[in-house]
Structure formats: structure tokens, C-alpha cells
Symmetry: C2
Subunit: 265 residues, 2 copies
DNA sequence: GCAGCAACTTAACATGGGTGAATGTCCGCG
DNA sequence: CGCGGACATTCACCCATGTTAAGTTGCTGC
């Protein structure tokens, strides 16, 4: 369940327009490898990826680097602007990247016009933490082969939202070196594994595309279980948000585009 | 920054009373190893640890288990009750455990009486995700010695809130086997490392207590950087929460115990 | 069409940490 | 007091993955 679905479920049509206009107005580009934010800095913007991929990472004093997750188009980078005094991780562009950067003043105005946006962003951030948990078990417990297979499965499913039967393809912008930093392996070993996957599952990574002829087979190799992505849960989302933020959904202007009042559970 | 500090910063005195009464009223005990919640289930309660430690974990089909984090007294287990249809990880008691379990109906009533509680819980959940990120880099990039040292540092600091100079001691309820599951190592290897730490830093784990004669030394071994715990940021928290949830802090009843209006930034 | 660089491959070798199994130590309980 | 269970410790062996160091391929810019 990505930010887009959450926004669709929680915002009124009018709010959605304001939100999307704000994204478009604040677009900014980065070159491959450029940092959008650095660990230890004061957070300066609310960031949504528009095109390309971003990577969250942490670096140790001696240079070892761990990629903590990738941010795909339409997804939220973090809520640090509202939650912490100093950011605890860095964000960089995986390749050429376009991102909406909403500064303090703009954000303030935005939330005044979109009262439901705050809970939508909180939800996206909290669900994003579920992905982080899965990366932890991935690195902690899986073998190199399982790790890489799991990464490919996750990236594939996150781009399709509805898990498709059989196989298919999707964008894949990481180099083998970046995959290594993401999975706690070396570049050389990732290369070995990618070749194994090529032989065993006919998986191909080429030209920034990932091709998976048989998703079931790959998922089995990885013991992939998509529960943590919480797909298809948007339908029942309003019910749960309402439990926590009662007032947000009792406002009289909560209507859909046709003027009908949305079901209130 | 733990839940307690966040609640202190965001709730009115009246709300705090209601909240604490609710915790006390819903206390429930678990035996060592008992599950409070299991992966795949529908979330049934909002849980706050009162005494003892809880562990979040995930298990793979073949039995491998990764501990994703520990929940110390006063901390929130998760917000799954409000965010997901099915939980993606399990929670168990590390040892005998007392926890407040607030069910749907009770939670509903609670949020009606404590309008600021919702944002407090969201903040706690989002800041909890920062700890998860650090576990990821810990397992992905650090050597076994660094990992164990880092774990000890984190547990120590989380119990002291204010990092003390020199050394000290704190509760430590994990067995070496559990430490192994937490750090992606084997029990045997954790034992080797614990003995090294004993020699090199005089660190002792005994009788469910952890003694660290020289915290600086241990922190250096681990390359420990406490940024991710966001200590001491509670002072400026209201300012940030206000940016996101404007309305919550404009309510007329936001007064402190003496009847004076709290500063509004 | 070629220089130059980034990414990918391959190979030989080294090692941190895993495995399995036995032994030791402590403590609560009947 | 002695038994049983939970946890910690030790040992011998070895494999998955890291390290180092060449290549090789294939862009991209000029």
C-alpha cells in the first residue's frame, strides 16, 4: 500500500487537487548519486519522489555504507521535517531523479488546505516501517541467494501493486554494487548470485529493467511473503484511521467527486 | 525519545491522567516466551509495556527467527490496531511481562477523551522506525563484535535517556540465544564475543543486569552514534507536531496544571 | 569511431562465523 | 538433597562469503 493509495482513500477530491498541484509546483531534479539530505542535518523539506529512484542510506565513520531502502516514484521519503530535530540517515539519488521538495512554509499552507493530509502522511510513514522490518530479517537470516531473490520480488511487487500471476517485468535502477550495499553483501558475491538466478529462474536484469519469467518460482526461492507490503488493505483503511483521528472524518465537506457522502463505515 | 516523553510534551495534564488510568486498568501478564500477537493475525489491541521486556520478531517457514527489536517498559509495541488489516510480525514476552492491552472499544473511548493522544502515538511509532533502521545497518555492515557492542550500548542508553558519563549498569533480560537471534548470529558465536567484551572492556552480563564500567570505550568499539535515538529532542517536539496537526494545539483547553496557557511557539 | 569511465565478470585465495555435539554451571523445585 | 531444565561454555571442523586484482563489456561524450 503506497502513498498514492492512501491519499486516494483519505483525501477529499478537492484536497487531492491541492496536493497534486503542490507536488508539481515543487519539483526539483538531482543527478545520479547526489544527496538530497545528509545524516545529522536539520530536515529542510517534505520529499515525494516523482520520477527515478531515491535510496536511504547510512554510512559508518570508516566508509561502510548500508542502503536502508529505496523510494520509488510516488512514494514518501520520510517525515523527518515534522518528527526529528536532526535526520538520522542520508538520502541520495540512485540515478537521475525528480523529487517534490516542500519546504516549511509551503508545507504549513498545504496542511491548512488539506486537513486529512497529515494522517495520510503518518500512515505512509508507519507502513514504510514495515518494509524496514522485512529488510532486517532479510539481512539477518537469509542466505545471499534468498536475499537477492527477495529484493527482486519486493521491487517487482511494489511496482505492480496487484501481484500478477506468471511473470512480467519492471524498472530496476540499482547496480550490482548498490544491491550489495542494500543486502549487506559484496559486489562480487552479488554478481555470483545474479548469475545463479539467471540460470535457475531465467531472471534477467538488463538495461535498467528486471524480467521475471516465473514469479512464483523466484518467490519460492526467496521464501517471499508479501504480507509486509500490506497490499489491498486500502479498502478498509478509512475505518482504521477514523479510530485514531475521529474528528477528521466527521467534517461536512467529506464528499466524493459526485457530491455523494462517502460511507462512514 | 520514548513514549513517556512524547506523552508529557503533547498531552494536557487532564489527558495524561486519563491515559495513565487506562494503562493501569488494562494491565495483563504474560509468561516468558508467550506470544502477545502473531504474524498474520488481525490486530486486537494497542499495547504498552508496563514491566519486563517484549520482543518483536519474524519467523521464516523453516524456523529461522529474527528479533526485530525489544520493547522496554513504558514503550509502545506498535500501532497495528490502527494501521494494518493483518500484523506482519509477532510479539512475545522476553521474560515474565506485564503489558497494558487496550482493545478497540476502550481505545475508541480513550481517543475521544484525549484528542492529543493520537499524534503522540504516531510520533512514537515513527521514531521507533529509526531504531529499526539502525538495526538494519548494524546487522548488514558491522562485525559480530561491533554488533553485540552496539546492542549493549543501545539498550543501556535507552534505559538512561540521558547518556551518563563514565559507566553504569542497567537491566538486561536477553539470553545469549536471544541476542544471537537479534543480531543475526549464532548462540555459540555470541558467547565468543561476550567473552571478548568481558576481557577488552570489562563488560559483564549477569543476573539480568548489564554492567558497563567504561561506556565510552564500549561505544568506540561499536562505532556507536546515538543520533538515531533522538534523545533530548522532546523540548522542540510541540513545534514540529504543530506543523503537521495544526488544529490539535489551538484548542482552548490546552493549559498546563496551573491554568496558564502553554507557549504556542 | 575512439577515449574514458562505469559496470560487470572471472579467478585464486583468505577467513569470519556457522554447525553439531558434548560438557559445565547454576538454580528452582519436589 | 538430588534431579531436571535453562543457559553458558568449549571444541573441531568447514563452508559461505569476503578480498584482491585482473580483465571485459558497453555506454557516453567528443
Amino acid at each position: 500500500m503506497g502513498l498514492a493509495e492512501i491519499v486516494n482513500a483519505l483525501l477529499t477530491p478537492r484536497e487531492r487537487l491541492v496536493w497534486e498541484a503542490s507536488l508539481a509546483r515543487n519539483a526539483r531534479d538531482y543527478m545520479k548519486g547526489a544527496d538530497l539530505a545528509r545524516e545529522g542535518e536539520k530536515p529542510m523539506a517534505l520529499r515525494i519522489v516523482l520520477a527515478g529512484w531515491a535510496q536511504k542510506y547510512k554510512q559508518m565513520p570508516d566508509g561502510r555504507r548500508q542502503i536502508l531502502g529505496v523510494v520509488l516514484p510516488g512514494e514518501l521519503c520520510d517525515l523527518d521535517l515534522f518528527t526529528v530535530a536532526r535526520t538520522d540517515h542520508s538520502i541520495a539519488a540512485v540515478r537521475r531523479l525528480s523529487v517534490a521538495e516542500i519546504g516549511r512554509a509551503d508545507a504549513q499552507r498545504l496542511f491548512e488546505q488539506c486537513p486529512n493530509l497529515a494522517s495520510a502522511l503518518c500512515w505512509a510513514a508507519i507502513l514504510g516501517a514495515a518494509v524496514q522490518r522485512e529488510w532486517t530479517i532479510n539481512i539477518g537470516q537469509r542466505s545471499a541467494l534468498e536475499r537477492v531473490a527477495q529484493l527482486l520480488c519486493e521491487i517487482y511487487v511494489r511496482q505492480h501493486d496487484i501481484p500478477s500471476v506468471g511473470g512480467g517485468s519492471c524498472d530496476f535502477l540499482l547496480t550490482q554494487g548498490q544491491m550489495a550495499e542494500a543486502m549487506g553483501l559484496t559486489q562480487v558475491h552479488v554478481n555470483r548470485i545474479v548469475q545463479q538466478l539467471r540460470l535457475r529462474c531465467a531472471v534477467e536484469i538488463r538495461n535498467m529493467r528486471l524480467e521475471i519469467p516465473d514469479f512464483q518460482q523466484l518467490a519460492a526461492l526467496a521464501s517471499f511473503n508479501a504480507t509486509y507490503l500490506h497490499l489491498g488493505e486500502a479498502a478498509t483503511l478509512v475505518e482504521r484511521v477514523r479510530m485514531l483521528f475521529l474528528s477528521d472524518f466527521d467534517r461536512p465537506d467529506r464528499r466524493n467527486g459526485d457530491g455523494a457522502i462517502l460511507p462512514t463505515i
